[in-house]
Symmetry: C2
Subunit: 308 residues, 2 copies
């Protein structure tokens, strides 16, 4: 009998990796035969969390067997999932994003809640099943919440996320603030990244009306450090935009200390950025988006509106 595979989205972030690990733990404790895998490289922030709590990264896969039974965490849009997702049987989805480009032939268990992080839903599911969260699993669930909520500062962060984070920090035995800042800083260390790394390490593609939009986001302690590479960024993004027939590529550099983002927009749809955020891209096609840190809540929603 082949195990049911649990995985998050491509270009995995901390919530995707940690939620796949924790949900595999919960399902295993409930008696199911599952295993967790990942669809891309583990980033530095996630690696910091895994090292801190002595957990091994899931195995990398590129495709699933035809007819494989799978559980998606932290995503539902097929273009963010494994390439041949159409050939799998999706048994469950646990997610906190909008629902789009998703369909199944059969009924399934689909649980999406409008909270800041998949890990917050999983923390609740441990309780619903009367299963206690081990110390190391608490640590990675906490890490996922810190990552998705930028240490509880993102507008996507709900009361449920805050409460879960405090509970989990207690179980994990760490100080929420100091551990959180250390983890975010580990993720914002981009010193060894190539420009190609920067624009792909946390990139997601979205269908907006008839437009194809890719949005890549990196966290930084100092955004000007990243934009020292401006010319090279423009060159690499332009060629990616052409190769993939993108209407817009938006590169988002989020300042984790000031909670703003400086964006670079390339593609025929770049004017939509001005109207969406009520800003004017400068001659470098860049703009500062004050208070914008959440791709999901503050960028995808308003940009989708512009492309309708």
């Amino acid at each position: 009998m082949v195990k049911t595979l649990i995985f998050g989205h491509k270009n995995p972030d901390t919530d995707t990796i940690c939620s796949s690990i924790a949900y595999a733990d919960l399902k295993t404790k409930r008696g199911y035969d599952v295993t967790h895998v990942r669809l891309g490289e583990v980033n530095k922030e996630t690696q910091f969390a895994l090292d801190q709590f002595n957990i091994k990264a899931p195995e990398l896969i590129e495709r699933v067997e035809d007819g494989a039974e799978v559980i998606l965490v932290d995503h539902n849009e097929f273009q963010q999932s494994v390439d041949n997702i159409e050939n799998a049987t999706i048994r469950e989805v646990i997610d906190h994003h909008r629902i789009s480009n998703f369909e199944t032939k059969e009924p399934l268990y689909f649980r999406a809640e409008p909270v800041g992080c998949t890990a917050t839903i999983l923390n609740k599911m441990y309780k619903e099943n009367d299963i206690s969260v081990d110390k190391n699993i608490a640590g990675i669930l906490l890490s996922a919440i810190i990552s998705d909520s930028l240490l509880l500062k993102s507008p996507t962060c709900t009361d449920e996320d805050v409460q879960a984070a405090h509970e989990l920090a207690e179980i994990a035995g760490v100080d929420l603030e100091s551990y959180g800042l250390d983890m975010l800083k580990a993720g914002a260390d981009l010193s060894d990244k190539t420009v190609k790394d920067l624009i792909t390490m946390d990139a997601k593609e979205f269908a907006m009306g008839n437009a194809k939009v890719e949005i890549a986001q990196v966290n930084a302690v100092d955004t000007s450090e990243i934009y020292k590479l401006h010319d090279e960024l423009v060159e690499v993004i332009t060629s990616r935009t052409n190769d993939n027939d993108l209407d817009l590529f938006l590169f988002v550099v989020t300042d984790i200390l000031n909670n703003d983002s400086e964006v670079l927009a390339i593609g025929n749809g770049k004017d939509k950025v001005n109207s969406a955020f009520n800003v004017a891209l400068d001659s470098n096609n860049r703009a500062l988006l004050k208070g914008v840190v959440s791709r999901k809540k503050q960028i995808v929603t308003v940009l989708t509106e512009q492309f309708k």
Copy 2:
């Protein structure tokens, strides 16, 4: 402040009507400002249940205001929902069907479980919220389970549905078997129906691959009574198939005593019925599907496979 609207699918069945009523009750008890409405006529089976438990049918609506906040129960596919669903903001979905032709701009609370009836999920939600189910609400939740599971005999019926039905019968103070059979018989009284009623009273349209398929189902105590109207059925269905550019219209008459269905297939895609069910349509384009009673689990799934 306009109330959030709760409604089930078009051509409402007992689960759709009763779940909208019960979920409005639960949300109201939790302090939310909601109201339940319906998208079509109340059928005899549902009316029997409402009368039995002294509950008024929800108000009929045809459209929602632009920007209305809505909660969908017992469906998610937009073609089964209110005509201008694209203009509403969907806050929640509680459902037990496959997911298809559904998307949102924003994250929402979406709860689908692979159980036999939406009412079974709602019964669980009362418990999760520590709110007791009143006698009359228990009665209509029970009626929904009896209807969707053909008195616990459909293959869609899970252990959870069975357990919920017994619990709810106890609270409602009725005998599950005798109340259930009375209710199903009330619904199978088709003596006053026109042919047009028969093919529309519980009809649902599905996108299967590139094909448009409509499947109408009626319950009967004696299927031959219905097929006395064979010629007229063919005429009306053929004109509906042409008018709506359907690839297939499947009319399903389910025998509630023997748990079989006799189907009539019209449209260019009618041969798919033979391959899907390993039967041969007779010269009247009819076939008996032994043991088939569930549109969702035994018809839609296998037909979709044929149209891929």
